[in-house]
Symmetry: C2
Subunit: 258 residues, 2 copies
Protein backbone atom coordinates (compact mmCIF):
# COMPACT_ATOMS: atom_id res chain seq x y z
CA UNK A 1 0.00 0.00 0.00
CA UNK A 2 1.19 3.52 -0.77
CA UNK A 3 1.62 5.97 2.05
CA UNK A 4 -0.57 9.03 2.49
CA UNK A 5 -0.22 11.72 5.14
CA UNK A 6 -3.23 13.83 6.12
CA UNK A 7 -2.25 16.96 8.03
CA UNK A 8 -4.57 19.33 9.84
CA UNK A 9 -3.53 22.88 10.71
CA UNK A 10 -5.49 25.34 12.83
CA UNK A 11 -5.78 29.07 13.30
CA UNK A 12 -2.48 29.35 15.18
CA UNK A 13 -0.60 28.61 11.95
CA UNK A 14 -2.96 30.38 9.56
CA UNK A 15 -3.15 33.65 11.51
CA UNK A 16 0.58 34.30 11.44
CA UNK A 17 2.01 34.81 7.92
CA UNK A 18 5.55 33.88 9.01
CA UNK A 19 4.46 30.66 10.72
CA UNK A 20 2.28 29.77 7.75
CA UNK A 21 5.07 30.40 5.26
CA UNK A 22 7.52 28.27 7.29
CA UNK A 23 4.93 25.52 7.68
CA UNK A 24 4.16 25.51 3.95
CA UNK A 25 7.89 25.43 3.15
CA UNK A 26 8.22 22.31 5.35
CA UNK A 27 5.03 20.82 3.89
CA UNK A 28 6.25 21.39 0.31
CA UNK A 29 9.38 19.32 0.98
CA UNK A 30 7.29 16.17 1.28
CA UNK A 31 7.82 13.72 -1.54
CA UNK A 32 4.96 11.36 -0.64
CA UNK A 33 1.28 12.17 -1.28
CA UNK A 34 -0.32 14.43 1.30
CA UNK A 35 -3.64 16.10 1.99
CA UNK A 36 -3.78 19.34 3.99
CA UNK A 37 -6.90 20.33 5.96
CA UNK A 38 -7.30 23.85 7.33
CA UNK A 39 -9.82 26.03 9.11
CA UNK A 40 -9.97 29.77 8.72
CA UNK A 41 -8.37 31.32 11.81
CA UNK A 42 -9.11 34.78 13.16
CA UNK A 43 -9.41 36.32 9.72
CA UNK A 44 -12.96 34.94 9.43
CA UNK A 45 -13.93 36.64 12.69
CA UNK A 46 -12.23 39.89 11.66
CA UNK A 47 -13.98 39.99 8.28
CA UNK A 48 -17.25 38.95 9.95
CA UNK A 49 -16.95 41.86 12.37
CA UNK A 50 -16.40 44.30 9.50
CA UNK A 51 -19.43 42.87 7.70
CA UNK A 52 -21.53 43.12 10.87
CA UNK A 53 -21.85 39.35 11.17
CA UNK A 54 -21.68 38.42 14.84
CA UNK A 55 -20.68 35.02 16.14
CA UNK A 56 -23.95 33.32 17.15
CA UNK A 57 -23.85 31.15 20.25
CA UNK A 58 -26.64 29.03 21.75
CA UNK A 59 -25.91 27.26 25.05
CA UNK A 60 -22.20 27.90 24.47
CA UNK A 61 -22.22 26.27 21.04
CA UNK A 62 -21.41 28.11 17.85
CA UNK A 63 -24.27 28.36 15.34
CA UNK A 64 -23.83 28.68 11.57
CA UNK A 65 -26.68 30.82 10.28
CA UNK A 66 -27.01 31.75 6.59
CA UNK A 67 -24.77 34.82 6.76
CA UNK A 68 -22.13 32.99 8.81
CA UNK A 69 -22.18 30.22 6.20
CA UNK A 70 -21.54 32.81 3.47
CA UNK A 71 -18.69 34.22 5.57
CA UNK A 72 -16.94 30.88 6.09
CA UNK A 73 -17.53 29.91 2.45
CA UNK A 74 -15.74 33.10 1.41
CA UNK A 75 -12.90 32.87 3.89
CA UNK A 76 -12.24 29.13 4.28
CA UNK A 77 -13.19 28.18 0.72
CA UNK A 78 -11.82 31.29 -0.99
CA UNK A 79 -9.32 33.56 0.73
CA UNK A 80 -7.45 31.15 3.01
CA UNK A 81 -7.65 28.15 0.72
CA UNK A 82 -6.44 29.91 -2.43
CA UNK A 83 -3.66 31.77 -0.62
CA UNK A 84 -2.35 28.43 0.71
CA UNK A 85 -2.62 26.81 -2.72
CA UNK A 86 -0.86 29.72 -4.48
CA UNK A 87 1.94 29.66 -1.88
CA UNK A 88 2.40 25.89 -2.24
CA UNK A 89 2.58 26.27 -6.04
CA UNK A 90 5.34 28.85 -5.60
CA UNK A 91 7.26 26.29 -3.53
CA UNK A 92 7.04 23.72 -6.32
CA UNK A 93 4.32 21.67 -4.63
CA UNK A 94 1.26 20.96 -6.78
CA UNK A 95 -1.84 21.56 -4.64
CA UNK A 96 -5.54 21.79 -5.45
CA UNK A 97 -7.99 23.60 -3.22
CA UNK A 98 -11.17 21.70 -2.45
CA UNK A 99 -14.32 21.84 -0.40
CA UNK A 100 -16.59 18.84 0.01
CA UNK A 101 -18.81 20.13 -2.81
CA UNK A 102 -16.00 20.07 -5.38
CA UNK A 103 -16.21 16.83 -7.34
CA UNK A 104 -18.69 15.79 -4.62
CA UNK A 105 -15.64 14.66 -2.62
CA UNK A 106 -17.34 14.97 0.74
CA UNK A 107 -21.10 14.66 1.04
CA UNK A 108 -22.45 15.59 4.49
CA UNK A 109 -25.78 15.50 6.29
CA UNK A 110 -27.05 18.77 7.72
CA UNK A 111 -27.09 18.25 11.48
CA UNK A 112 -30.67 17.46 12.59
CA UNK A 113 -32.36 20.04 14.82
CA UNK A 114 -32.79 18.62 18.32
CA UNK A 115 -32.30 20.76 21.43
CA UNK A 116 -30.10 23.13 19.45
CA UNK A 117 -30.40 24.17 15.81
CA UNK A 118 -26.76 24.39 14.78
CA UNK A 119 -27.76 25.82 11.42
CA UNK A 120 -25.71 24.99 8.33
CA UNK A 121 -23.42 22.45 9.96
CA UNK A 122 -22.56 19.20 8.19
CA UNK A 123 -21.94 15.83 9.84
CA UNK A 124 -19.83 13.41 7.85
CA UNK A 125 -18.84 9.75 7.73
CA UNK A 126 -16.22 7.93 5.69
CA UNK A 127 -19.00 6.66 3.40
CA UNK A 128 -19.57 10.22 2.17
CA UNK A 129 -16.01 10.55 0.83
CA UNK A 130 -15.42 10.18 -2.93
CA UNK A 131 -12.06 8.43 -2.55
CA UNK A 132 -11.66 7.59 -6.24
CA UNK A 133 -11.42 11.24 -7.35
CA UNK A 134 -8.98 12.03 -4.53
CA UNK A 135 -6.91 8.97 -5.41
CA UNK A 136 -6.85 10.00 -9.07
CA UNK A 137 -5.57 13.47 -8.12
CA UNK A 138 -2.89 12.03 -5.84
CA UNK A 139 -1.81 9.61 -8.58
CA UNK A 140 -1.28 12.64 -10.84
CA UNK A 141 0.85 14.34 -8.18
CA UNK A 142 -1.88 16.83 -7.30
CA UNK A 143 -2.35 17.16 -3.53
CA UNK A 144 -5.72 18.29 -2.13
CA UNK A 145 -5.94 21.21 0.29
CA UNK A 146 -9.28 21.13 2.09
CA UNK A 147 -11.12 24.09 3.53
CA UNK A 148 -13.43 23.05 6.38
CA UNK A 149 -16.56 22.98 4.23
CA UNK A 150 -18.81 20.22 2.95
CA UNK A 151 -22.17 20.20 1.16
CA UNK A 152 -25.53 18.49 1.61
CA UNK A 153 -26.17 17.41 -1.99
CA UNK A 154 -29.25 19.66 -1.96
CA UNK A 155 -27.51 22.84 -3.03
CA UNK A 156 -26.12 24.08 0.29
CA UNK A 157 -22.58 24.38 1.53
CA UNK A 158 -22.15 23.26 5.15
CA UNK A 159 -19.67 24.19 7.86
CA UNK A 160 -17.78 21.14 9.17
CA UNK A 161 -15.12 20.97 11.88
CA UNK A 162 -11.63 20.71 10.35
CA UNK A 163 -10.47 18.07 12.88
CA UNK A 164 -13.45 15.93 11.87
CA UNK A 165 -12.78 16.41 8.16
CA UNK A 166 -9.17 15.28 8.69
CA UNK A 167 -10.12 12.14 10.63
CA UNK A 168 -12.98 11.15 8.32
CA UNK A 169 -10.75 11.64 5.28
CA UNK A 170 -8.07 9.53 6.99
CA UNK A 171 -10.49 6.70 7.67
CA UNK A 172 -11.91 6.79 4.13
CA UNK A 173 -8.51 6.92 2.46
CA UNK A 174 -7.13 4.10 4.64
CA UNK A 175 -9.01 1.68 2.36
CA UNK A 176 -6.52 2.55 -0.38
CA UNK A 177 -3.47 3.93 1.44
CA UNK A 178 -1.41 3.43 4.59
CA UNK A 179 -2.54 6.64 6.26
CA UNK A 180 -0.78 8.74 8.86
CA UNK A 181 -2.98 11.45 10.36
CA UNK A 182 -1.13 14.46 11.80
CA UNK A 183 -2.68 17.17 13.95
CA UNK A 184 -0.57 20.32 14.22
CA UNK A 185 -0.96 22.21 17.49
CA UNK A 186 0.66 25.15 19.25
CA UNK A 187 2.04 22.73 21.89
CA UNK A 188 4.89 20.28 21.19
CA UNK A 189 2.55 17.28 21.63
CA UNK A 190 0.21 15.83 24.24
CA UNK A 191 1.68 17.02 27.53
CA UNK A 192 2.01 15.16 30.83
CA UNK A 193 3.32 18.34 32.47
CA UNK A 194 2.00 21.53 30.95
CA UNK A 195 4.30 23.91 32.83
CA UNK A 196 7.51 22.12 31.86
CA UNK A 197 6.20 21.11 28.41
CA UNK A 198 6.88 17.43 29.00
CA UNK A 199 5.59 15.52 25.97
CA UNK A 200 4.07 12.04 26.15
CA UNK A 201 6.02 10.35 23.30
CA UNK A 202 3.62 7.44 22.72
CA UNK A 203 -0.03 7.02 23.63
CA UNK A 204 -1.60 3.58 23.45
CA UNK A 205 -4.98 2.52 24.82
CA UNK A 206 -3.51 1.33 28.12
CA UNK A 207 -1.47 4.39 29.16
CA UNK A 208 -4.13 6.69 27.69
CA UNK A 209 -6.61 5.19 30.15
CA UNK A 210 -4.15 5.66 33.00
CA UNK A 211 -3.49 9.28 32.07
CA UNK A 212 -7.22 9.90 31.87
CA UNK A 213 -7.86 8.20 35.25
CA UNK A 214 -5.12 10.20 36.98
CA UNK A 215 -6.26 13.47 35.40
CA UNK A 216 -2.85 14.12 33.80
CA UNK A 217 -4.29 14.70 30.33
CA UNK A 218 -6.14 17.98 30.01
CA UNK A 219 -9.90 17.43 29.69
CA UNK A 220 -9.95 19.59 26.54
CA UNK A 221 -7.68 17.05 24.82
CA UNK A 222 -9.89 14.05 25.60
CA UNK A 223 -12.39 14.49 22.71
CA UNK A 224 -9.47 14.92 20.27
CA UNK A 225 -7.70 11.83 21.58
CA UNK A 226 -10.89 9.74 21.65
CA UNK A 227 -11.35 10.81 18.04
CA UNK A 228 -7.76 9.76 17.25
CA UNK A 229 -8.29 6.28 18.73
CA UNK A 230 -11.57 5.98 16.80
CA UNK A 231 -9.64 6.72 13.59
CA UNK A 232 -7.04 4.04 14.46
CA UNK A 233 -9.78 1.52 15.17
CA UNK A 234 -11.31 2.35 11.78
CA UNK A 235 -8.13 1.57 9.84
CA UNK A 236 -5.82 4.59 10.09
CA UNK A 237 -2.23 3.42 10.61
CA UNK A 238 -1.04 6.08 13.06
CA UNK A 239 -1.96 9.48 14.45
CA UNK A 240 0.59 12.07 15.47
CA UNK A 241 0.04 15.27 17.46
CA UNK A 242 2.87 17.74 16.92
CA UNK A 243 3.82 21.37 17.07
CA UNK A 244 3.34 22.90 13.63
CA UNK A 245 7.03 23.86 13.47
CA UNK A 246 8.04 20.19 13.85
CA UNK A 247 6.36 18.84 10.73
CA UNK A 248 9.46 17.21 9.28
CA UNK A 249 10.87 15.97 12.62
CA UNK A 250 10.14 12.26 12.43
CA UNK A 251 10.15 11.66 16.19
CA UNK A 252 8.48 14.87 17.29
CA UNK A 253 5.31 15.14 19.33
CA UNK A 254 3.02 12.35 20.48
CA UNK A 255 2.54 9.20 18.44
CA UNK A 256 -0.86 7.61 19.00
CA UNK A 257 -1.27 3.98 18.05
CA UNK A 258 -3.15 0.84 19.01
Amino acid sequence: MNKLTIIKIGGNVIDDPKSLDQFLTDFAQRTEPAILVHGGGKIATQIGNKLGIEAKMVDGRRITDAETLDLVTMVYGGLTNKKIVAQLQSKGFNAIGLTGADGNVMLAKKRPVKKIDYGFVGDITADGVNTSLLQSMLNQGVNPVFGALTHDGEGHMLNTNADTIASVLAVAMSREFEVELVYCFEQPGVLSDFENKVVIPVLEPKNYQEYKDSGVINSGMIPKLDNAFDALNAGVKSVRIIQFSDLNQAEAGTLIRL
Copy 2:
Protein backbone atom coordinates in the same frame (compact mmCIF):
# COMPACT_ATOMS: atom_id res chain seq x y z
CA MET B 1 -12.31 14.35 -31.23
CA ASN B 2 -14.68 14.63 -28.29
CA LYS B 3 -16.79 17.73 -27.93
CA LEU B 4 -16.29 20.23 -25.14
CA THR B 5 -18.36 23.32 -24.45
CA ILE B 6 -16.88 26.24 -22.54
CA ILE B 7 -19.52 28.64 -21.27
CA LYS B 8 -18.96 32.05 -19.75
CA ILE B 9 -21.59 33.75 -17.59
CA GLY B 10 -21.47 37.28 -16.25
CA GLY B 11 -22.89 39.26 -13.38
CA ASN B 12 -26.33 39.53 -14.95
CA VAL B 13 -26.89 35.80 -14.31
CA ILE B 14 -24.98 35.59 -11.02
CA ASP B 15 -26.68 38.57 -9.37
CA ASP B 16 -30.21 37.20 -9.73
CA PRO B 17 -30.78 33.95 -7.77
CA LYS B 18 -33.76 32.96 -9.98
CA SER B 19 -31.85 33.50 -13.24
CA LEU B 20 -28.85 31.66 -11.84
CA ASP B 21 -30.95 28.71 -10.69
CA GLN B 22 -32.66 28.46 -14.09
CA PHE B 23 -29.35 28.76 -15.90
CA LEU B 24 -27.73 26.05 -13.75
CA THR B 25 -30.76 23.80 -14.29
CA ASP B 26 -30.27 24.18 -18.05
CA PHE B 27 -26.50 23.73 -17.71
CA ALA B 28 -26.93 20.55 -15.63
CA GLN B 29 -28.94 18.95 -18.44
CA ARG B 30 -25.87 18.80 -20.63
CA THR B 31 -24.57 15.31 -21.25
CA GLU B 32 -21.31 16.29 -22.92
CA PRO B 33 -18.29 17.67 -21.05
CA ALA B 34 -18.48 21.34 -20.19
CA ILE B 35 -16.47 23.99 -18.38
CA LEU B 36 -18.22 26.97 -16.80
CA VAL B 37 -16.41 30.29 -16.29
CA HIS B 38 -17.90 32.98 -14.07
CA GLY B 39 -17.07 36.38 -12.65
CA GLY B 40 -18.42 37.66 -9.37
CA GLY B 41 -21.24 40.07 -10.14
CA LYS B 42 -22.40 42.90 -7.89
CA ILE B 43 -21.95 40.87 -4.72
CA ALA B 44 -18.19 41.58 -4.81
CA THR B 45 -18.88 45.32 -4.96
CA GLN B 46 -21.47 45.08 -2.17
CA ILE B 47 -19.16 43.13 0.14
CA GLY B 48 -16.28 45.43 -0.79
CA ASN B 49 -18.39 48.45 0.19
CA LYS B 50 -19.18 46.88 3.57
CA LEU B 51 -15.50 46.14 4.11
CA GLY B 52 -14.54 49.70 3.15
CA ILE B 53 -12.74 48.56 -0.01
CA GLU B 54 -13.40 51.07 -2.74
CA ALA B 55 -13.14 50.34 -6.44
CA LYS B 56 -9.84 51.87 -7.54
CA MET B 57 -9.75 53.44 -10.99
CA VAL B 58 -6.80 54.99 -12.83
CA ASP B 59 -7.51 56.62 -16.21
CA GLY B 60 -10.85 54.84 -16.28
CA ARG B 61 -9.27 51.39 -15.77
CA ARG B 62 -9.99 49.22 -12.76
CA ILE B 63 -6.98 48.53 -10.51
CA THR B 64 -6.58 45.40 -8.37
CA ASP B 65 -4.69 46.43 -5.24
CA ALA B 66 -3.90 43.95 -2.44
CA GLU B 67 -7.19 44.37 -0.60
CA THR B 68 -9.22 44.18 -3.82
CA LEU B 69 -7.35 40.97 -4.67
CA ASP B 70 -8.36 39.52 -1.27
CA LEU B 71 -11.94 40.60 -1.95
CA VAL B 72 -12.18 38.93 -5.35
CA THR B 73 -10.35 35.84 -4.07
CA MET B 74 -13.02 35.52 -1.35
CA VAL B 75 -15.97 36.24 -3.56
CA TYR B 76 -15.07 34.77 -6.96
CA GLY B 77 -13.00 31.88 -5.60
CA GLY B 78 -15.08 31.17 -2.50
CA LEU B 79 -18.64 32.43 -2.20
CA THR B 80 -19.80 32.51 -5.82
CA ASN B 81 -17.77 29.52 -6.98
CA LYS B 82 -18.82 27.18 -4.17
CA LYS B 83 -22.48 28.21 -4.33
CA ILE B 84 -22.53 27.39 -8.04
CA VAL B 85 -20.76 24.06 -7.47
CA ALA B 86 -23.11 23.05 -4.61
CA GLN B 87 -26.14 23.95 -6.72
CA LEU B 88 -24.86 21.95 -9.69
CA GLN B 89 -24.23 18.96 -7.43
CA SER B 90 -27.85 19.18 -6.22
CA LYS B 91 -28.95 19.00 -9.87
CA GLY B 92 -26.97 15.79 -10.41
CA PHE B 93 -24.15 17.48 -12.30
CA ASN B 94 -20.66 16.76 -10.99
CA ALA B 95 -18.74 20.05 -10.89
CA ILE B 96 -15.42 21.06 -9.36
CA GLY B 97 -14.60 24.66 -8.48
CA LEU B 98 -11.20 25.87 -9.65
CA THR B 99 -9.01 28.91 -9.86
CA GLY B 100 -5.86 28.99 -11.95
CA ALA B 101 -3.77 28.17 -8.87
CA ASP B 102 -5.58 24.87 -8.23
CA GLY B 103 -3.55 22.08 -9.75
CA ASN B 104 -1.62 24.90 -11.45
CA VAL B 105 -4.28 24.76 -14.17
CA MET B 106 -3.74 28.33 -15.31
CA LEU B 107 -0.43 30.05 -14.78
CA ALA B 108 -0.47 33.79 -15.53
CA LYS B 109 2.01 36.63 -15.75
CA LYS B 110 1.39 39.67 -13.57
CA ARG B 111 0.73 42.51 -15.97
CA PRO B 112 3.89 44.62 -16.33
CA VAL B 113 3.72 48.19 -15.04
CA LYS B 114 3.82 50.62 -17.95
CA LYS B 115 1.72 53.78 -17.99
CA ILE B 116 -0.71 52.21 -15.54
CA ASP B 117 0.02 49.81 -12.68
CA TYR B 118 -3.00 47.51 -12.86
CA GLY B 119 -1.92 45.79 -9.64
CA PHE B 120 -2.58 42.09 -9.16
CA VAL B 121 -3.90 41.41 -12.66
CA GLY B 122 -2.85 38.30 -14.56
CA ASP B 123 -2.34 38.02 -18.32
CA ILE B 124 -2.66 34.53 -19.76
CA THR B 125 -1.95 32.54 -22.88
CA ALA B 126 -2.96 29.04 -23.93
CA ASP B 127 0.56 27.83 -23.04
CA GLY B 128 -0.14 28.51 -19.37
CA VAL B 129 -3.08 26.05 -19.25
CA ASN B 130 -2.50 22.61 -17.70
CA THR B 131 -4.77 20.78 -20.13
CA SER B 132 -3.86 17.28 -18.94
CA LEU B 133 -5.35 17.76 -15.46
CA LEU B 134 -8.50 19.33 -16.92
CA GLN B 135 -8.79 16.50 -19.43
CA SER B 136 -8.39 13.92 -16.67
CA MET B 137 -11.20 15.55 -14.68
CA LEU B 138 -13.49 15.68 -17.72
CA ASN B 139 -12.73 12.02 -18.47
CA GLN B 140 -13.92 11.19 -14.96
CA GLY B 141 -17.17 13.12 -15.50
CA VAL B 142 -16.04 16.01 -13.29
CA ASN B 143 -16.69 19.39 -14.90
CA PRO B 144 -14.58 22.42 -13.93
CA VAL B 145 -16.24 25.66 -12.80
CA PHE B 146 -13.73 28.51 -12.99
CA GLY B 147 -13.73 31.65 -10.91
CA ALA B 148 -11.98 34.51 -12.71
CA LEU B 149 -8.69 34.07 -10.86
CA THR B 150 -5.24 32.87 -11.86
CA HIS B 151 -1.86 32.83 -10.11
CA ASP B 152 1.68 33.93 -10.91
CA GLY B 153 3.58 30.85 -9.69
CA GLU B 154 5.29 33.08 -7.13
CA GLY B 155 2.69 32.80 -4.40
CA HIS B 156 0.15 35.38 -5.51
CA MET B 157 -3.35 35.00 -6.81
CA LEU B 158 -4.15 37.28 -9.74
CA ASN B 159 -7.37 38.81 -11.04
CA THR B 160 -8.05 37.85 -14.68
CA ASN B 161 -10.96 38.84 -16.89
CA ALA B 162 -13.52 36.03 -17.15
CA ASP B 163 -14.03 36.51 -20.92
CA THR B 164 -10.29 36.09 -21.40
CA ILE B 165 -10.15 32.99 -19.20
CA ALA B 166 -12.94 31.45 -21.27
CA SER B 167 -11.26 32.16 -24.61
CA VAL B 168 -7.77 31.09 -23.49
CA LEU B 169 -9.19 27.87 -22.02
CA ALA B 170 -11.05 27.29 -25.29
CA VAL B 171 -7.90 27.70 -27.37
CA ALA B 172 -5.84 25.48 -25.06
CA MET B 173 -8.44 22.72 -24.89
CA SER B 174 -8.99 22.79 -28.67
CA ARG B 175 -5.77 20.75 -28.98
CA GLU B 176 -7.64 17.81 -27.42
CA PHE B 177 -11.33 18.56 -28.02
CA GLU B 178 -13.67 20.04 -30.60
CA VAL B 179 -14.46 23.17 -28.59
CA GLU B 180 -17.53 25.36 -28.71
CA LEU B 181 -17.13 28.61 -26.78
CA VAL B 182 -20.38 30.21 -25.57
CA TYR B 183 -20.70 33.71 -24.13
CA CYS B 184 -23.94 34.29 -22.24
CA PHE B 185 -25.19 37.87 -22.34
CA GLU B 186 -28.27 39.80 -21.31
CA GLN B 187 -29.09 40.38 -25.00
CA PRO B 188 -30.38 37.63 -27.32
CA GLY B 189 -27.18 37.76 -29.40
CA VAL B 190 -25.18 40.29 -31.39
CA LEU B 191 -27.78 42.82 -32.54
CA SER B 192 -28.08 44.60 -35.88
CA ASP B 193 -30.98 46.66 -34.49
CA PHE B 194 -30.79 47.27 -30.76
CA GLU B 195 -34.27 48.77 -30.41
CA ASN B 196 -36.08 45.90 -32.11
CA LYS B 197 -33.64 43.26 -30.80
CA VAL B 198 -32.84 41.97 -34.27
CA VAL B 199 -30.16 39.29 -33.89
CA ILE B 200 -27.41 38.66 -36.43
CA PRO B 201 -27.67 34.87 -36.77
CA VAL B 202 -24.22 34.23 -38.24
CA LEU B 203 -21.08 36.35 -38.18
CA GLU B 204 -18.19 35.48 -40.48
CA PRO B 205 -15.12 37.60 -41.23
CA LYS B 206 -16.72 39.14 -44.32
CA ASN B 207 -20.06 40.36 -42.90
CA TYR B 208 -18.33 41.23 -39.59
CA GLN B 209 -16.14 43.68 -41.50
CA GLU B 210 -19.20 45.13 -43.24
CA TYR B 211 -21.08 45.55 -39.96
CA LYS B 212 -18.05 47.24 -38.44
CA ASP B 213 -17.59 49.55 -41.42
CA SER B 214 -21.24 50.60 -41.39
CA GLY B 215 -21.25 51.12 -37.61
CA VAL B 216 -24.11 48.64 -37.11
CA ILE B 217 -22.27 46.69 -34.45
CA ASN B 218 -21.96 48.54 -31.17
CA SER B 219 -18.38 49.63 -30.52
CA GLY B 220 -18.48 47.97 -27.08
CA MET B 221 -18.97 44.61 -28.80
CA ILE B 222 -15.95 44.94 -31.08
CA PRO B 223 -13.23 43.85 -28.60
CA LYS B 224 -15.37 40.81 -27.66
CA LEU B 225 -15.92 39.88 -31.29
CA ASP B 226 -12.27 40.44 -32.24
CA ASN B 227 -11.45 38.14 -29.34
CA ALA B 228 -13.94 35.55 -30.66
CA PHE B 229 -12.35 35.58 -34.13
CA ASP B 230 -8.90 35.28 -32.54
CA ALA B 231 -10.11 32.16 -30.70
CA LEU B 232 -11.44 30.69 -33.97
CA ASN B 233 -8.15 31.41 -35.72
CA ALA B 234 -6.36 29.63 -32.88
CA GLY B 235 -8.33 26.40 -33.24
CA VAL B 236 -11.69 26.84 -31.51
CA LYS B 237 -14.44 25.26 -33.61
CA SER B 238 -17.22 27.82 -33.04
CA VAL B 239 -18.18 30.71 -30.81
CA ARG B 240 -21.76 31.52 -29.89
CA ILE B 241 -23.12 34.63 -28.21
CA ILE B 242 -26.50 33.98 -26.62
CA GLN B 243 -28.92 35.17 -23.98
CA PHE B 244 -28.30 33.19 -20.80
CA SER B 245 -31.87 31.87 -20.83
CA ASP B 246 -31.29 30.30 -24.27
CA LEU B 247 -28.48 27.93 -23.28
CA ASN B 248 -30.16 24.79 -24.58
CA GLN B 249 -31.66 26.41 -27.71
CA ALA B 250 -29.43 25.06 -30.47
CA GLU B 251 -30.13 27.87 -32.96
CA ALA B 252 -30.28 30.78 -30.52
CA GLY B 253 -28.09 33.86 -30.59
CA THR B 254 -25.24 34.64 -32.91
CA LEU B 255 -22.96 31.94 -34.26
CA ILE B 256 -19.47 33.18 -35.03
CA ARG B 257 -17.34 31.13 -37.38
CA LEU B 258 -14.61 31.41 -39.96
